[in-house]
Symmetry: none
Subunit: 141 residues, 2 copies
DNA sequence: AGAAATTTGTCCGTATGTATC
DNA sequence: AGATACATACGGACAAATTTC
């Protein structure tokens, strides 16, 4: 068979199927996925395609791969039975003292009080990004 | 042809070199990187290896790829032709080591390499805000 | 408008290196 | 030491989006 990939690419279809099995606990949390060669046989895809699919799940932190061992499902078991889906953001604000780099940027003395706002973005409980925004403290009148 | 990868894998070495050129403006912001086949010739690596290197930079948001067009360096066209007085943003990426606080958030070891993206927003030349976003660096594939 | 060339995207098959058991 | 499994790398083929003529 040539290489037709109308619509969804093969590796995405395979990733979707594996994701379904993991979220439905067909592949239980903490257990090993089938080996790459087993998946190669099951999906009739090449190893490269299987690895592309697994790489997608790895980016979602849905699996974790260990060299020479295998690929584990759901490594972070924050299993509070909370069916969270979309990203969740925690926002926190605090005062910090300007280090030399920030002081130079804001053109203030080192040690000047700055306001730091920190946003922690989580996807499925795993931290995806930490954003910190620094501003000068607002001069009150 | 054998496939030795002593020490650093080739795609990582190539990614490091391309990252250097971009941050040193040897490849100016907004410009196109050499095509995959050109990079194949220059580094004498297969196309797959070149694409692996570029994928790393894409994960760092250091480049952006468009199907049929090419891969752009530093996709942050913040300066248009119009001399606006609005806020101007300078974006910069660098790799930093996780301090204890970030390590705890990302659930990684202290010293793990993170990607930091810093945006400095200026209004009329004065720094108004400094934003730093931290993300995990993609491990492999 | 249309065909050709260019460039990235997907997929395959294979070979070899490296880590774990 | 041997077997198993993932990691890296090569080369070839065709698909799809864009640009060029």
């Amino acid at each position: 068979m040539p290489t037709p990939h109308y619509g969804q690419p093969r590796y995405r279809v395979i990733a979707d199927e594996l994701r379904r099995r993991i979220t439905n606990a067909v592949i239980p949390p903490g257990s090993l996925l089938p080996t790459e060669s087993a998946l190669t046989a099951e999906f009739r895809a090449s190893r490269g395609t299987i690895r592309q699919a697994i790489a997608l799940l790895r980016d979602e932190r849905l699996v974790a791969t260990e060299h020479g061992r295998g690929t584990y499902a759901n490594p972070d078991h924050s299993h509070k039975d909370s069916p969270e889906e979309g990203p969740q953001v925690e926002r926190r604000q605090r005062q910090v003292l300007a280090d030399p780099e920030l002081a130079a940027l804001f053109a203030v003395e080192v040690g000047t009080t700055l306001v730091e706002q920190q946003d922690v973005t989580r996807i499925n409980g795993a931290v995806r990004a930490v954003a910190r925004v620094y501003r000068l403290q607002r001069a009150s009148q």
